[in-house]
Symmetry: C2
DNA sequence: GAGTTTTGATGTCTGCACACATCGGTGTCA
DNA sequence: TGACACCGATGTGTGCAGACATCAAAACTC
């Protein structure tokens, strides 16, 4: 039911708010939205409720539906992330995700070395080896697939559901990286070995080594991507008091 | 507007789903919910839409409203976190948050040292010094307040909106820690100094030192709390989707 | 077993009554 | 005359009730 009227209304408004077409402070009236989107009140109302729970709008009696500033948006919501990735803020969103990833993955590796179930450890080693092979052969699509699987397994193996939940966003950054031609046909040899190091350290339960190898991967990834988004402005969310 | 019928319905159902009272696979009918909560269909429908966007339920024609398993919940949503903190899974939720925090804060410190605006750096130093004073004097409530402010400023100063968004959850873990008597009257002397070290490193733009000092704080916090949740079962979210 | 019909739940639409924040007019007082 | 508090009018979201549309599971037919 991904194209119900209600869903399309959410998509329409969410996209327009996050793109900046509907700026913070802009006020919409439910009735106007009805004829603009050619749907009934109930559809609009349900859509507005969802956008409200995402922090994109707030409703006030006698005023209308007010668009909220980006600082109020829930930056972890998958829909918000998707809309930002489709907007001019795509670069900033990718940077945020990459920073989050580079903070989380070494911690996930450490936890996975302590907690991951045995079958997952074995699969991780297999995937790391397959990655190295695919990398040597220059099989780019196959490598991307394995790369996503590797990092998904790693996050899943941490046993932290918040880390695991980042799988989807990580996949997005990895595919985004290859789509934008930031990946050479033959991945860096050392990086391939670091993936194997992470997997083997987890397999033998060496948390320190797992973290260290993962950290190397992340630092290399960050330095590789950093020059593509240096011009992105940073937003500092005020600390409420 | 926090006690609209629609909001209360969300709260009621969200709490019951996350507490496990309404288990995964349980099927609810909109009509039944109307009688049960004594509200009209539109209220139920709007509430269900929001719960749907949080991944708590899905609707299927001819079947009803199905409760989804925890692996489908959005673990980063503030409401979901709040409901989990109020459930039997409180311990597991606190551990997840602490792990996330200990991964993110050192990275945030590193970024803050590179990007934070000057006034924020100064404020951070002030707060760190005030924290040390309050700690020495054994002013527990004052210390907690400053502690929350310190870590909020740190996350905000990173210039990463996802990091900044964790301020609220961090405050929750810190207050939870003191409420549960896990904080001594006089905080560890070294920990107090590490906070000052983080602030001063950020103030002078020394990213490496900022990360290192922050990492020390996080490692000590984790080792301090780890024995309180060793019995919490870990959940491994399958990578397939 | 494959194809068809029935059924029952959500999806969508509409008209109405109500709650309540804002605005503007009115009256009071200095 | 001007400043201020009050209060009612107005407009908008909120909640309700009922109808019909849609569509997929389930029952039925062959």
């Amino acid at each position: 039911m991904t194209s119900s009227l209600h869903h399309r209304a959410i998509e329409n408004l969410g996209t327009r708010i996050i793109s900046g077409e509907l700026p913070a402070g802009h006020i919409m009236l439910a009735e106007k939205l009805e004829d603009e989107l050619k749907v009934s009140r109930s559809v609009i109302r349900e859509a507005v409720r969802v956008l409200q729970s995402l922090g994109l709008v707030e409703t006030t009696k006698r005023v209308g539906i007010r668009v909220l500033p980006p600082s109020r948006w829930n930056p972890f919501d998958p829909q918000v992330i998707r809309w930002r990735l489709a907007s001019k803020a795509r670069g900033a969103q990718l940077r945020s995700l990459a920073e989050l990833r580079s903070a989380v993955e070494p911690a996930a590796a450490e936890l996975a070395a302590q907690n991951a179930p045995a079958p997952l450890r074995l699969e991780l080693v297999d995937v790391a080896h397959a990655m190295r092979d695919a990398g040597h052969r220059g099989e780019v699509p196959r490598f991307l697939e394995l790369d996503i699987q590797f990092h998904s397994l790693l996050l899943s193996g941490s046993g932290n559901e918040m880390f695991a939940n980042l799988m989807g966003q990580v996949a997005e950054t990895l595919t985004g990286r290859t789509v934008h031609g930031l990946m050479p046909d033959h991945p860096h040899e050392a990086a391939l070995q670091w993936h194997v190091d992470v997997a083997e350290a987890i397999a033998r339960g060496d948390a320190g080594a797992a973290r260290e190898a993962s950290d190397k991967i992340m630092r290399r990834t960050m330095s590789q991507m950093s020059d593509t988004w240096t011009e992105q402005p940073r937003v500092f969310i005020p600390v409420h008091r």
